[in-house]
């Protein structure tokens, strides 16, 4: 399965919908999207990974790269993920401590609203 990407902005929070497999072949497309969003002034990103079927370390690298970019603008990059097999990869690499990870887009939006 290929990678499908979509995004929309609600109240200064840009929600990036990711569907499919993030690997060394598809990750560059996600990287380009994140770079493009930051270049266009979107510094608060929420990446919804609920429809991600596969994630490897290349995908992790892209997300960490995105996080560094938004942080340079005092922004944020957080994730929505409840899938155990995806969370396991974040846990192995210690990245659960680096990313805010929420159970739903609504939960993340509420947290984002409180932080504003």
């Amino acid at each position: 399965m290929d990678l499908k990407l979509d995004h929309h902005t609600e109240d200064r929070l840009t929600i990036v919908e990711v569907e499919g497999e993030i690997d060394v072949y598809t990750a560059p497309r996600l990287r380009e999207l994140l770079i493009d969003l930051v270049n266009k002034g979107n510094f608060h990103l929420l990446v919804n990974m609920e429809k991600v079927d596969f994630l490897d370390s290349t995908g992790l690298g892209v997300l960490v790269g995105g996080l560094k970019r938004v942080r340079a603008h005092d922004g944020s990059l957080e994730l929505v993920c409840t899938q155990e097999r995806i969370l396991k990869i974040f846990r192995i690499t210690g990245l659960t401590k680096v990313f805010g990870i929420y159970a739903s887009v609504e939960e993340a939006k509420e947290a984002h609203g409180r932080d504003k």
């Binding site: 072949y25 596969f54 097999r85 690499t93």
Partner: protein, 145 residues
């Protein structure tokens, strides 16, 4: 894809039908083909009655090993994946052609994930123009919950 059933059955325990199969998969050394190899890996692991979690671990481990090698592979050559299936474990050797000898990086996310998900990982760089990673995964040996 070739599937050869070897005749060596000496040290195979009872149960699990005494499988000892060798499967070779040769693909272009290009990232676009990794999803094909992941699917093959999952199919072979399922043959050994690995649990769903173990199958997923193997799928990711093989993907990580190949992704590491692809960065060193000579463009236009093949990636060779050799799977050895016994009743208890799967041994996977992935190999590419390289220019010069080089070691995979052992301090990045890829190596971290690979070594956490496989039971045993070894990078083989004994040939001047080949680079290989060998990983093993045993049934019922979950190392990380």
């Amino acid at each position: 894809m070739t599937d050869e059933t070897a005749t060596r059955a000496d040290d195979i325990p009872d149960g699990l039908s005494g499988i000892r199969d060798a499967v070779s998969v040769r693909l272009p050394a290009a990232s676009a083909y990794l999803s094909v190899l992941r699917t093959a890996t999952a199919g072979l692991a399922a043959r050994l009655d690995f649990t769903l979690d173990e199958i997923e671990d193997l799928r990711i481990a093989v993907d990580e090993a190949c992704a590491m090698l692809l960065g060193h592979a000579v463009p236009g050559t093949d990636l060779l994946a050799e799977f050895e299936l016994t009743g208890q474990e799967m041994i996977v050797r992935v190999e590419v052609s390289t220019v010069g000898q080089s070691e995979p990086k052992r301090d990045d996310f890829a190596w971290m994930v690979l070594t956490a998900l496989a039971d045993d990982v070894d990078a083989v760089t004994d040939s001047p123009d080949r680079m290989a990673i060998v990983l093993r995964k045993r049934r019922g040996s979950a190392r990380l919950s």
